[in-house]
Structures are given as C-alpha cells and as structure tokens.
C-alpha cells in the first residue's frame, strides 16, 4: 500500500469500477437513498417552516425540538434508532401494532432496511432545511401578502403565487445541498446497517471506506472518490441547467 515504487496504471482503476457490478449497485443504492430522503426532507421542512412562521405559541420550544436531531452525533442517533427498529421490543413495531400492522424486522429485511435508513435520515437532517426555509420565508416582504389580500387572493393562492415563487432561490439552494449531502451519507449506514442486509444499504461512501481501509486498495478507493465527485458535480450542473429557469428573485 505504501511502497515507494508505484506503478502508473492509467485509467485502470476507473475501468475496474465501471465494469464492476458492485459499483453500480452501490451507486443505485445511493440514488435510492437520495430520491427517498431529499423530497421527503424538503417537503417536511417546508411545511414545518411555513407553519412556524405564523402566530404560534411556544415557537422557540417547537423550533428547538425540530432542530435537536441535527446537533446530535449521527453515531448516537443511529444507536437509538437501532433500538427504535428493534423487531421485538422496539418502539416502531409497537406503534404500528396499534394500526394492526404486523411486526417488521426493519434492519434485517432487504426490502425494509433502505426504508428504515431513509426515515432516520429524514429525521436527522430536516431541521437544517427547516431553518433555511424559515430564513427564506422571513425574507419575503410583507406588502406582497397585504396587496394580494386586498385583491382577494385566498390562502392557497397566496402560497402558490407569492410564497413558492419567492422562496424558489432558497428551495433551489436546499435541493442542491441536500442532494450533495445525501450522496455523502456514511455514519448512519455504518452504525445502523453496516451496508447490509445483502448489500441493500451499501452506499458509495461506505464502498469507498471499505475498499480503502478494509481491503487497503487505495488506488481503487481514490477512483471511487473521484467518481463520487463526478456524479455529484454532474447532478449539480444538471439541476442548475434545468431548474434555474424556475427560480424567481421577484414577482
């Protein structure tokens, strides 16, 4: 691994990755995780931020509660969630049993494990986006709403025609950052599922870590790192290209 003499292998490591079914599987898993967390996360964050922006008693306490998971270490959070997902005594199966839903072995069932990871991921990070949406909402001038109200616009109309368009720079920023963040997920995967069962939750950074520090294939792991960078970079460019048109800075 650390010999002074290293052979130059050109693009061999990249070709190995592209030809490896495992690389495509972990990329697919990462994509599923991203598609599962980002929209749910943003929707929840927007709803909470929107309502917290109204006259609510105990706003500070509520904000603290929604934000608390963000500051917690992801290792401790994942340990707690293992307990929540525990099949026999766990909180989740108990709550589901109220609705007659049979117990699920969340972390050992190949179809349920990714779902479990996504739910925890949303819980852990939506507070960040809630704060960002709140800041965005506070930046919308009040007189737009007053004018719309005088013109007889209803609550929904005000939301669709004023709030959403004027929030779009914030929304766009949050989308880009959330996609980048979810492509880099690692800690929770390591503690919650260790990439299992049957590799269904093995994501790109976990694959990178495994190759670099378990199999000590630094060359291959570095290629994975750059492929990760390339994927994230491409996704960011695509979002900029195709969504910039729907970002409004004024009405």
């Amino acid at each position: 691994m650390f010999s002074a003499q290293k052979e130059f292998v050109g693009f061999d490591n990249y070709l190995t990755a592209i030809r490896s079914p495992e690389f495509w599987m972990v990329t697919k898993n990462t994509l599923i995780y991203t598609l599962g967390t980002v929209p749910l996360n943003m929707l929840l964050a927007l709803i909470v931020a929107y309502f917290l922006n109204k006259k609510i008693a105990g706003k500070r306490i509520l904000r603290t509660a929604f934000f608390a998971p963000v500051v917690m270490s992801s290792v401790a959070a994942a340990v707690i969630w293992r307990w929540v997902y525990e099949p026999n005594f766990g909180l989740l199966n108990y709550v589901l049993s109220w609705f007659g839903i049979p117990a699920v072995n969340w972390l050992n069932d190949p179809t349920a494990a990714m779902f479990a990871l996504i739910v925890m991921g949303v819980w852990k990070t939506f507070g960040v986006n809630m704060i960002l949406f709140s800041a965005g909402l506070q930046g919308i001038p009040k007189h737009y709403y007053e004018a719309a109200e005088i013109d007889g616009a209803g609550r929904w109309q005000r939301f669709w025609d004023i709030t959403l368009p004027l929030l779009s720079p914030t929304t766009f920023f949050i989308l880009v950052m959330s996609v980048i963040g979810s492509f880099q997920v690692f800690d929770t995967v390591y503690v919650l599922t260790s990439g299992g069962p049957l590799g269904t939750t093995k994501v790109l950074v976990f694959y990178l870590y495994e190759n670099a520090f378990k199999f000590f294939d630094m060359g291959y792991a570095s290629a994975i790192a750059y492929l990760l960078f390339a994927i994230v970079f491409t996704l960011t460019l695509l979002q900029t290209k195709y969504l910039k048109g729907s970002v409004h800075y004024s009405i």
């Binding site: 650390f2 309502f51 917290l52 109204k54 006259k55 609510i56 008693a57 105990g58 509520l62 603290t64 509660a65 929604f66 934000f67 608390a68 998971p69 963000v70 500051v71 917690m72 270490s73 992801s74 290792v75 401790a76 340990v79 707690i80 293992r82 307990w83 929540v84 026999n88 005594f89 766990g90 909180l91 108990y94 049993s97 819980w123 990070t125 960040v128 704060i131 960002l132 920023f173 949050i174 950052m177 980048i180 963040g181 492509f183 880099q184 690692f186 390591y190 503690v191 950074v205 990178l208 870590y209 670099a212 520090f213 630094m218 570095s222 790192a225 750059y226 990760l228 960078f229 994230v232």
Partner: protein, 278 residues
C-alpha cells in the same frame, strides 16, 4: 361571521396540536434513549414498551463505563474538539483579516481557490490526507485528529464576510494613533466580531465532537478513541445490551445538547449563514 370566527379558532387549535404532536414525535427517540438508560433490564425487555422506568437506576452508566474506557474517550474528544476550535479561531481570524483588509498580489485569486476547496467532498481528500499522515508517522495519534482540522476554508469565509461589514473608519483612527496591524485585529476587529467568532467556535466544536469517519480511519488503538468511535465499537460488541448502549449514547450526546440549549441562536445563525450540512 361568528361561524367563520369559530372556524378560524378551530384551525389555530388544530395547527397547534399538529405542530406539538410533530415535535413530540421528533424528540421521542431522545426521550426513549434517556429513559431507557435509567431502566433495569426487565423494564427494557417488556412488551408493550414501558416509557417510565418502574425504578430509576444508574447501573447502566456504571456498567458502560466499566465495560469500555468512556472516561478516556471523553477526554480525547474534548481535547481534540477544544484544540481544533481554538486553532481555527486563531488561523481563520488571521487569514480572514488578510483577505478582508490587507492588500497583496493575488489576494482575490487566492481567496477563490480557498472557496473552491469547499466544493470538494471530504471523502475525496480523505485518502491522500491519510497517506500524508501515514508518511509523517502520525496515524493513531492526537496529531492525526487535530492537525488536519486546524484551518478551514469555511471558517475563513465566514469571518471574512463578517469583517467586511465592520466600518474602516475605526481602524483608520487606530492606525493614526500608532496601532499596529496586529493591534487592529486584536483590539478592534475581534472584539466587534464576537457573534461571528461564537458561531464559528460552536460549529467547529460540534463538527469535531460529532465526527466519526475521520476518527474511524486514523485511530486504531483503544486508548486513542473518541467518544463517537468508542460508541460505534461498543455498539458492535454489545449488540443487544440496550441499557448500556443507551447510557453510552446519552454520554456521547450530552455535551452538544447542553451547548445547543444555551447557544441555540449561534447554531441557527451558522446554518443560515452557510447552509452548511451537519
């Protein structure tokens, strides 16, 4: 009219109920962790789950601290987090001062290079950093945990933006009175930048204290482990010892939660200033 008013009141009540229920669901895992850490085994393994322990006991904490050197892990985490935080305050404030106030060749180009490094995912830098530290013989030492974190582009950016908002007249007056450049930074800029410094300090402390991946990569011996690393290893070893696991998790979470409750506005300011992720 009164029906409409009643509807409005009802709407407000429903809104409050939904928000408080949502908040309760969000903090439920925390409550569950804390309460479980004080339960005896029969209380833990009961179905349906029981929220309140029938007897509050501290034996889970005692057992966890005996099973693994959490005291030592704690000391390591605190040492690393405090050193990195202080180091960043020093290096970032000086670099930010240079970028905000001094004039030198290539200043703006250099600043954009710094900004550009923020776009590169940490994982891309991880392997080369590891190899450099290995070459230094620093693997499994405090240096490996501390030195790579001593400067940050994010910190420089955050402080520079703040320094730019401070009026120059104050400094000009001090310069005329014979104050040195360093004196300007130390006596004028820094005292006026306390909110920005606090934001950076709290963000850095939280990031380092909660960091896992880097510690996992560079630390191999038990006595060098940080709290997060120690907790993850403890989790591997005591898979189902939920009482001890929850006690260890409470331990690993407590310092940040305490800081968070007293300095919430700095966390929120840090997020809104940067949009930075956890």
């Amino acid at each position: 009219m009164s029906a409409r008013k009643a509807g409005k009141v009802l709407g407000v009540i429903v809104l409050h109920l939904v928000l408080y229920a949502g908040a309760l669901v969000t903090v439920a895992p925390f409550l569950w962790m804390v309460l479980t850490s004080f339960k005896e085994l029969p209380d833990i393994l009961t179905y349906p789950p029981r929220w309140i322990p029938s007897r509050f006991v501290t034996e889970n904490f005692v057992a966890a601290f005996q099973a693994a050197p959490f005291g030592r892990y704690y000391f390591n985490s605190m040492l690393v987090a405090i050193t990195v935080t202080l180091g960043q305050l020093v290096t970032c404030s000086m670099a930010a001062f240079a970028f905000a106030r001094l004039r030198f060749w290539g200043r703006d180009a250099l600043f954009y290079v710094f900004l550009g490094t923020m776009m590169i995912p940490a994982q891309v830098v991880m392997i080369p950093s590891f190899m450099v530290l290995h070459w230094f013989g620093w693997i499994d030492t405090y240096a490996a945990l501390i030195v790579p974190g001593l400067a940050s582009a994010f910190g420089i950016f955050l402080l520079r933006q703040f320094f730019l908002t401070i009026p120059r007249e104050l400094e000009d007056a001090a310069r005329i009175d014979g104050c040195s450049r360093f004196g300007v930074l130390w006596r004028i800029i820094l005292p006026l930048s306390k909110p920005a410094l606090a934001t950076l300090a709290i963000f850095t402390f939280m990031g380092v204290f909660n960091d896992f991946l880097w510690a996992l990569v560079v630390i191999s011996s038990d006595e060098m482990r940080t709290v997060q690393l120690g907790l993850a290893i403890f989790r591997d070893r005591y898979q189902t010892d939920w009482g001890q696991l929850m006690a260890a998790s409470v331990t690993a979470t407590l310092p940040i939660l305490i800081v968070f409750f007293f300095a919430q506005k700095y966390f929120i300011r840090g997020i809104t200033l940067s949009g930075m992720k956890e």
